[in-house]
Each structure stands twice: as structure tokens, then as C-alpha cells.
Assembly symmetry: C2
Homo-oligomer: 217 residues x 2
DNA sequence: CTGAAATCTTGGTATTTGTCAAGAATATCA
DNA sequence: TGATATTCTTGACAAATACCAAGATTTCAG
């Protein structure tokens, strides 16, 4: 009897280890294929880059970074939905960006300049992420030209995106912004609460609801 | 008589050369002190970086980069005022950013990602600028870590600025935006035509004028 | 310096957008 | 699963903002 128990424990541990290993392999694989699309790395760089990430699993509505804090991590989203948002006068929220897998996440400007974040980063749904802290990332950037290139490119694309969105916010009416959203990210309508979509488009939630009724289809 | 003419020519050329030399020294000095504040360079890097810039002098309302073109230059402003703006439906303009000395200029996202610009870059007043083309800049970035660091940092600050402005556009009322402008850049009121300031704040020009009358002081 | 063009101001009006409230629908957690 | 929050919808109303036009002012180029 004792013997059986030992064997079972052993089996359990064996399979658990394999499962964990495969799991980590899959995560790493996801990260690898993501970064390779942005900027090709050598095998050595890839190995260095994918090493040292910490996996976290969090519930919905978990604050990953609070406004006022300085961002400590670069995140990579494996599963779930997150948003960065600003809280203004009278607790009005302005959603800056949504993130979902596979992509990096984190308050980019705060992380890169190591200055306090203006935004909150929060999970919308339960999420699985991996993250690497600023010091490790800095070392990687310092020591591997390809990784520096990767982060630089990512930053450039972020800037491009921010300026693109700038236009939409400044030039488009609520209805136009709504239509752009419908056209460009129809899936978001199902995934994200309307409340957040409204705050992403910079309009009142009730107005968003009315647009849904009139503009739809 | 002939002799006198030759001597005068010689003198002219002599002083002209010296003047030009001093001029270039001053320009370079301006660029040096500007970049040193962002990210310190070694002497060698500084020498490499300040070399190869082309000086241009342009009249007011000169288009430096047109929407649809891919930005070819990184500019450094020595004198004058410029703005980047987007032209939307019915020729409505949205000013993205103003640039004035000493600072870099150019459509940052287009230059960095080498994709077509969404904006026009145009001088508001007659301007003196120096510029370096993308290929040269790329080489400098590739060959000098300090210069890569400089451009990377500049990009990060640009991103930070874009996200900061994002908040203002999305959360503030016209009056609030106007007050922020008054507080943060009062000098702009004298330098920049109200028309452009209005389009910078994302409001109608007539509304801007009314705010000037009511909010002032 | 002067005529022509661009810009600014102002009032009135139309449109867009936000606010409030309350009931309906939906999602969440124990 | 059921109780409890949260979110969504809808209407009427209020506020903000854009639009238009015309005259005053300023700026610019020849």
C-alpha cells in the first residue's frame, strides 16, 4: 500500500513536470514567433530574450500598474484582455489602449522613460501573462543588439499607433469613430464591455448605446 | 585698378569663408548642446553625429514633407517655427505638434518606420534648419551605440508626449484645453496664428476666438 | 507703401454631445 | 442556482460646440 502511494506520487510528479515543461515551451514558442515577426533575432539572442520571464495568472479587474507608479515590467499577454486607462476629473475614465494575445503589454512610456505612469493597467478578463522586469530588460538591450533593435522597433510602432489614434480622436465625430471601430475591430464588440469601448472612443456610454441602436449593421 | 579688384575679391572671399565657418560652428554647437542634454555622447560619437548635416533656409509656408510621402530627413531646427498637421474631410486641419528651436523636427513615425506620412510638415515662419537623411542616420545608429541610445531616448520621449496629449484631447473640454495652453505655453499665443492654435486644440477657430475674449487673463 | 489676401472677431443659429434618471437585461460570486 | 451588483437601454432635457456670414483688422508681397 505504501509502495503504491509512492509510485503514484512519483507518477504524478513525473506527469506534472512534463506538463509544466510543455506549457513553458508553448509560452516560449508564442513569444518567439511574436518577436520574430517584428525583428529577427539570432538563436543566441532568442534564447537570452525568452529566458527569465515570470508567469502570472490574475483574475479579472486586477490592477497590474497603478497611475503614479513607475512601470516595472514588460508584459507579454498569453491569454485574456487588458486595458490601459486614465482617470480624470470626477472619476471619468479614458481608455487609451486594449491589449490581447499575442502582444506586449505594460505602460510603454512609463517603462521606457522610468517616470510615473499616468495610466492604470488593468485586466478586463482573467489573464495569463508573462513578464520581465526593467532591470533584466535593460541588460538584454545593453548586451544584445538584436534585442535593442526589437524594443526600438516596438517603440516606433507604438509611436505610430499613438499618432494614428491622435487623428481619429481629433478629427472624427462620435459616429465616425464608432464606424471606424465597427469596421476595424468588430470582434471587440463582443469581447469588451460597451462602457470601455465608449471610453476608448472618448464618448459618453449612453451615447455609445444610442449609436449601437441607430448605426448598427 | 585691376589689382584693387583682385584684392577686394580676395578680402571678400576671406571674410565670407570665416563668417561661414563661424556660422557652421555655431550651428554645430547648438546641436551638440541639445543632444548632450538628452543622452551624453563620447567625443567621437559627437563628431560623427554632427557631421554630414545639410543646411537649408526656407520661406514661410514651405512644405517640408507632404502627407503620403515617406519622411526622408531628421531635421534640427535652428530658427523659425514649424507645424505638423493632418488634413481630413473638407480640408479640415488638425495640428499635431509645433516645433521650434532648439529641437528635432520631422515626421517621427514616418521616418522611423519608413512608412508613408499621414501628416504634412510645414514651416509657419521663415526657417533655418539642418537635416540628415535616413540612410546616414541609420548608419550612425548602427555604428555608434551612443547615437542609437540618443535616437531611442528621443523616440521614447516622443511617445510619452503623444500619450500625454492623448489624455488632454480625450478628457478636457475646449475651455480646459485652452487654459492648459495659456498656462503651459503662453508665448505661443504671440508666435502662432490663432487658427493653428485652434486646430492644435481640436476646436473651431471661431470658438477659440471667443475663448480668448472670455477666458483671457 | 499700398492693394490684395488672409486672419480675426462677433452674433445668431443648428447640431452634436453630455447628463440624468429609471427600468430592463446581464453577469458575477458565494 | 439565486441574490446582488453591474451594465445596458431609452427618453427628455441641458450644455457644449460647430457652423455661417459679414465686417474689422492684420499681414504680406510686389
Amino acid at each position: 500500500m505504501k509502495c503504491l502511494k509512492v509510485i503514484m506520487n512519483w507518477f504524478f510528479y513525473f506527469y506534472y513536470s512534463i506538463a509544466l515543461y510543455i506549457f513553458r515551451l508553448m509560452e516560449t514558442e508564442l513569444l518567439c514567433s511574436f518577436v520574430q515577426k517584428i525583428s529577427p533575432l539570432t538563436n543566441e539572442e532568442l534564447l537570452a530574450f525568452t529566458n527569465g520571464w515570470q508567469a502570472i495568472t490574475v483574475k479579472r479587474k486586477t490592477v497590474l500598474t497603478a497611475a503614479g507608479e513607475t512601470e516595472r515590467y514588460l508584459y507579454f499577454v498569453l491569454e485574456g484582455l487588458q486595458r490601459a486607462f486614465y482617470i480624470g476629473e470626477e472619476n471619468k475614465e479614458a481608455t487609451i489602449v486594449f491589449t490581447y494575445p499575442p502582444s506586449f503589454s505594460g505602460v510603454a512610456d512609463s517603462l521606457l522613460t522610468q517616470t510615473p505612469s499616468l495610466y492604470f493597467l488593468e485586466t478586463i478578463t482573467a489573464s495569463r501573462l508573462i513578464r520581465i522586469n526593467y532591470e533584466q530588460l535593460s541588460d538584454l538591450i545593453k548586451n544584445y543588439p538584436g534585442i535593442q533593435q526589437l524594443i526600438f522597433k516596438t517603440t516606433c510602432f507604438a509611436l505610430k499607433g499613438a499618432l494614428q489614434r491622435h487623428i481619429e480622436l481629433q478629427c472624427f465625430s462620435n459616429e465616425e469613430k464608432f464606424k471606424v471601430l465597427l469596421r476595424r475591430s468588430p470582434h471587440m464588440l463582443h469581447l469588451v464591455p460597451n462602457k470601455y469601448l465608449a471610453s476608448y472612443l472618448g464618448m459618453d456610454a449612453t451615447n455609445f448605446s444610442k449609436l449601437l441602436a441607430t448605426v448598427k449593421i
